[in-house]
């Protein structure tokens, strides 16, 4: 029974292999055969069997093998004409010459004087000419430094007005104990505002025009400024009630003018 079954199935199981042998080979497979690059030995054997049986594929294989064989010859067809023995000899001599120079048995190529071969050109003495770039560098450095200094402390041609700073006791006695003084530079059109304040002492300011009481201290000057500011605010409050645009807002707020009048 088993024998009969095997005999019955055998043609069917061997059909794929037979089909493979009877199918025409693809171009890639023929190319792989021609290049001998196929690594699968079984498929090679299958292809070999097919080539033996199929004249068409055999002809394709022969054509492809001939084409591949013609490639190396075509690629180096004119090599022998371009690289003649004389050229190769010249190349070999150059290689040996460069090798000799490399190991020091032959002198290196020397530079010819130009434009007059008979007269040597003056040699550049780099050691003695170093001062030129050094002087240029020093000048450049000095210029940059001076520029930075001028930028930090700008020169003021109109710096005629100076103020003296006087330090004294912290209780505000005007110039009672002057410890040190220094000149201050102020802007030409500015008020006599002190630019450098001493945290512990008083600053003596120049007298105001029409003031015969002598130099004022900074504290008295600040008090004076506060009074002036207060009076300015008061004037503003007294006059702002006449602004019609603000009348509605003013109606909601306490009347400063009335308060002021009541105070007085």
């Amino acid at each position: 029974m088993a024998m009969n079954a095997r005999r019955w199935f055998q043609p069917w199981t061997s059909m794929p292999a037979r089909w493979a042998e009877h199918r025409h080979l693809s171009d890639d497979r023929v190319l792989a055969l021609a290049l001998s690059t196929s690594t699968a030995r079984r498929s090679d054997r299958t292809a070999e069997r097919h080539l033996d049986a199929c004249p068409r594929c055999e002809r394709r294989y022969a054509q492809m093998a001939a084409q591949l064989d013609s490639l190396p010859a075509a690629a180096s067809a004119n090599f022998d004409q371009v690289f003649t023995p004389a050229r190769l000899q010249t190349q070999r001599a150059r290689i040996r010459r460069r090798l000799d120079i490399l190991v020091g048995t032959a002198p290196a190529a020397r530079l010819l004087d130009f434009p007059f071969a008979g007269r040597s050109l003056p040699r550049v003495r780099f050691l003695t000419n170093r001062w030129v770039p050094a002087a240029v560098a020093a000048t450049l450095l000095l210029g940059i430094t001076a520029g930075q200094l001028i930028h930090l402390h700008p020169f003021d041609a109109d710096a005629g007005r100076t103020g003296s700073v006087q330090t004294g006791d912290a209780d505000g006695q005007d110039g009672a104990t002057s410890v040190a003084s220094q000149e201050l530079t102020s802007a030409p059109d500015s008020n006599p505002v002190v630019t450098n304040l001493d945290m512990t002492g008083t600053v003596e300011l120049p007298p105001l025009p029409g003031d015969d009481a002598g130099p004022r201290t900074l504290d008295s000057f600040a008090r004076l400024m506060r009074d002036e500011e207060f009076l300015d605010d008061l004037d503003l409050a007294l006059t702002s009630a006449q602004v019609s645009e603000l009348a509605s807002i003013d109606a909601l707020t306490p009347r400063v003018r009335d308060l002021t009048i009541n105070i007085h």
């Binding site: 290049l35 690059t37 054509q63 490639l71 371009v82 290689i95 090798l99």
Partner: protein, 226 residues
């Protein structure tokens, strides 16, 4: 690798180990600081390898002047690096690797230059203007030159690895194992590169009708096997 190797058609068969033995001797001379003697012995290696090196470089560059420069530079580089040459490697393969890298570098530089320079007329001895005095007729010479130009153009269009594989393996007839050593790749990878390169070449050349004009001088039965 065997101790002998078959050179491409046209060259004599010679043992590969000669250069390796010479290289080992030169290495010892350099270690003993006998540089002049080493340079003299290296000249023998130059005599043995110069023609093959020029042919490989010519496949890449196609400009005889550039081939001269590359071959000279490759030999000098090999001499300078001989102290690092491993004697278990074959000198020919080691030197071919230096040469191929030099050619690829030169091609890269040429590509960079080509971006800025206008293409000039080909120089004397370039592939397109090779002498053809041995050709039977002017027409045949013209056809041969045209075929060669088409093939060179097709090879130039291949990627660098595929080009190296096809030049060394197919044009120079090197076994895949040696090419894999030169390229630093697996043998199977080299076979894949070669297969793809030839398939591309056929595609390029078929479009120009190159393959159809190839004479069938093959008997059809001499199949090559791996």
């Amino acid at each position: 690798m065997t101790t002998t190797s078959t050179a491409p058609a046209g060259d004599e068969v010679r043992p590969v180990a000669v250069e390796t033995r010479l290289a080992a001797e030169i290495k010892r001379l350099l270690a003993d600081d006998q540089r002049a003697r080493a340079a003299e012995r290296f000249g023998e290696i130059v005599d043995l390898q110069q023609r093959r090196a020029s042919r490989i470089a010519y496949h890449y560059l196609r400009d005889p002047a550039e081939v001269d420069e590359v071959v000279q530079d490759a030999f000098l580089k090999a001499f300078l690096h001989l102290p690092s040459f491993r004697e278990d490697l074959f000198f020919e393969l080691w030197f071919t690797r230096i040469l191929v890298n030099a050619c690829l570098d030169r091609l890269k530089a040429r590509t960079r230059r080509a971006r800025w320079l206008v293409q000039s007329e080909p120089r004397e001895g370039m592939a397109d203007t090779g002498p053809a005095s041995h050709e039977p007729s002017p027409e045949a010479a013209l056809l041969a030159r045209e075929r060669r130009a088409q093939l060179e153009s097709a090879v130039d269009r291949l990627p660098a690895r595929q080009r190296t594989a096809v030049i060394l393996s197919h044009f120079e007839g090197r076994p895949a194992r040696e090419v894999s050593t030169i390229m630093g790749l697996n043998e199977s990878t080299v076979r894949v590169h070669l297969f793809r390169a030839v398939r591309k070449l056929r595609g390029f050349l078929n479009r120009e009708g190159w393959m159809e004009r190839t004479p069938l001088g093959h008997d059809g039965r001499s199949r090559r096997h791996a």
